[in-house]
Amino acid sequence: MIALHDAALSYGERTLWRGLTLHVAAGEFLVVLGSNGSGKTSLLKVLLGLQRLSAGTVTVNGRRPRRGSDLVGYVPQHKSVPPHTPLRARDLVRMGIDGHRWGPWRPQGETRRRVEDVLGDVGAAQFADVPVELLSGGELQRVRIAQALATDPRILLCDEPLASLDAEHQQTVTELIARRRRTHNTAIVFVTHETANVLPHADRVLDLAAPHDSAALPA
């Protein structure tokens, strides 16, 4: 699903990582560790097509990564939503399907049913109509996972989805993502600091903390 070969990323003089060769197969759960500034988020940006490698090659689903692919889902770090946002949980999920398209919102039965389905899948149906700014942190992360899954991606990229959640919610969110891998054979790349809850699910761990030659180690 994901293939990096001898990849390197530098910003000016500073090399975040180099010599990174990595293959992630369908249904594999890869945990990415590393201190702040070690280039974990940048790795996800490369896979999302938002950042180009300084050297080496990368393919996602056999092609060069491109922005906005329906085959790649992205769960961002937990961040509170701006106040006074006229959107409900269901609207946030819908954005994952057609929020990037031009034009105003249009009612579409098919989209609506898809939104209901994924909300149900992550156990978020009961707060589907609650304004996003009134959701708790754990609820919001569930909805963000539903948003990332809305296009039925084959790869799920998670950028510290557990940050600023309490232990219980960390566990629920991790379970949700791990279950997705089991039920849909989705490849997971999970960037995190919270090893306790996540490592039990991991197939492999990529530690970017080492300043140079990074390697994927078995968990």
Binding site: R67, P76, H84, M95, G103, G123, A124
Partner: protein
Amino acid sequence: MNLHEIWGEIFNFADYGALLSLVRNSLIAGAVLGLVGGLAGTFVIMRDLPFAVHGISELSFAGAAAALLLGTSVAGGSIAGALVAAGLIGVLGAKARDRGSVIGVLMPFGLGLGVLFLALYKGRAANKFGILTGQIVAVDTPRLSWLLATSAVVLVCLAVMWRPLSFASLDPDVAAARGVPVRALSAVFMLVLGLAVAVSVQIVGALLVLALICTPAAAAVRVTASPVLMPLLSASLATVSVVGGILLSIGSSIPISPYVTTISFLLYGVCRAAGAVRTRRGWTARRPDTVPT
């Protein structure tokens, strides 16, 4: 002046029918402005830009004052000033952290320039006052055409970028990952906002644009979080404020702005109260029918 006379100054409905026909252009302009202000306001609230709106309107005022002094088109001057301000705020204040200080620096400069131009201007005092506090009698047909054309540009731009702009306002990172051109949209929206401010300045005046571009949307978001109903409600509230303000003010010699601002403030109060009731009745209530996994 006793209270009765003051009241008579504020509300005077003598010869109402005859006056009404004189302000036909203004009523059309007011209705369109309500639509523009209410819809643009939706994003002003989402993106936390009320201060930017105020900053743009002060530079728009400076542009209008310069045009007045030079004897050129006041509408053109206010649009030029607004676009310059919106462009500067968009470029220098792209990061939310920097934006406040950039606007705080631009705003007094713009006001100062405007005061300078007005001080040099030797024409009618009503013209001067009008740019700051609004005027309705001055909407002649060429000016109305200007206003309608500019408003049409704003409305078309907003309609085209509505969904991706909502996405980018809520979650810029995720929107970018989904292929939304976040930075370009942000820049284009600032320019569209500049146009919306410029047309509003010409009716409600530079000092009170926020009553049209911020208050109705802030009121609407208190009562609904539906991405479709909220902008519709916001546009309706703004239209009621402007058209109602015009209808109340035509008999008096007072500028239109206090009528508009008072109506829009009262509507905000009503919406806040309604929102409080809705919250107490359980806006945040979770449906019990499904059990979280």
